[in-house]
Subunit: 216 residues, 2 copies
């Protein structure tokens, strides 16, 4: 059964791989699971058919037979549980990899989304310039912690896992924000992710959507 995921018809990041479908594509590529993509417009995302799968009107979603899932973290975990390669077999190591998945979306990502939201929604406000450094400081506090824990390791906890996939997927959102510049080890960490063939295939696939849209 080939799963179907959803992605933006018009990617707000112009094919830079920063939308959340990238993580799901990457996970599917890591386990060599072919998938179909249904593109949705911003209007369609807020209409009943999509809302019945994704109550918050976002992407990505995941459909496989009768199963309908949302939330990139939950989808990646589902894929990781069904296929070998993304979660350690040892139960303690498996639980720790899942902890990193939650840390990526609950502890690191929100500080980056706040910066993106300010840039997108508050750039015309009188407070924007004064407030941005406060937001960057909050994000850096998380990145400091992450960089300290990672140290010189290639991955966060032993072998590459869904925890790294989610964390690198989140850090990838910082592209263009200049936040990682002072963390050589976090930059190397993201590069290790980008250098994985599965990442490359996933990136090319989401990029192709943007390019096709440009030409259409």
């Amino acid at each position: 059964m080939t799963p179907t995921i959803t992605a933006f018809r018009q990617s707000p990041d112009q094919g830079r791989g920063q939308a959340r479908d990238m993580r799901v594509r990457w996970a599917l590529e890591e386990v060599n699971q072919p998938y179909d993509v249904r593109l949705v417009s911003f209007r369609e995302m807020k209409e009943p058919p999509h809302l019945s799968i994704q109550p918050f009107g976002q992407i990505p979603t995941y459909e496989e037979g009768g199963l309908q899932l949302f939330e990139s973290g939950a989808i990646v975990l589902h894929i990781a549980e069904r296929h070998p390669g993304l979660l350690p077999r040892d139960l303690a190591a498996r639980a720790r990899a899942i902890a990193w998945m939650f840390a990526a979306v609950n502890t690191v990502e929100p500080t980056l989304v706040e910066i993106e939201a300010a840039r997108l929604l508050e750039q015309d406000k009188s407070w924007y310039a004064q407030r941005l450094p406060l937001l960057e400081e909050r994000a850096r506090r998380r990145l400091d912690s992450l960089a300290r824990r990672l140290g010189d390791s290639e991955w966060l906890d032993g072998s590459f896992s869904a925890g790294d996939l989610m964390m690198i997927g989140v850090l990838f959102r910082t592209r263009g924000l200049g936040l990682l510049e002072i963390y050589p080890n976090l930059r190397a960490y993201v590069s290790h992710g980008e250098n994985r063939p599965a990442f490359g295939r996933a990136f090319a696939a989401q990029r192709a959507v943007f390019m096709a849209n440009q030409q259409g």
Copy 2:
């Protein structure tokens, strides 16, 4: 093996059950798993012994034999996987419950944390009064979606699950923000959670820490 969790020595919410240890206590109570609590001060949270368990210097953590975990979502999921009662047996329903756990911490909680952060860190700024309505609107967009999906149901997807536990744990943070007033069904949903005996025991336990500290 009795697990040990960590919680604030001085609870910033004064025992109102809004710190993230509440979710873990609640999950442990739901499955009737006794646990020990190690209280940590704000200073201790940022020191190496605690950082070795929680890289971001937060609570809660979870220790059980050789396993050390962090992130409330990961800890609750670990508990739910080890004990019956918090995740459906049906695989699709189980995956959906986990999707709600991620939705709670990745899609709903950040909008509430932003409001808390503004109240805590930006109340003295010139922009505070003008910006607060923008933040409340962002949070309401999520709450609108959640209220629409919940409808008149008691729980989000069939029986009570770890998804409800996490979502109610997150919504419980809105206490005092006045955000839920316009959503009778979300208020009822939170009440259904609060009325569970396990919630009551967890709430009393964290409240007792605050009371003991008051007297100490």
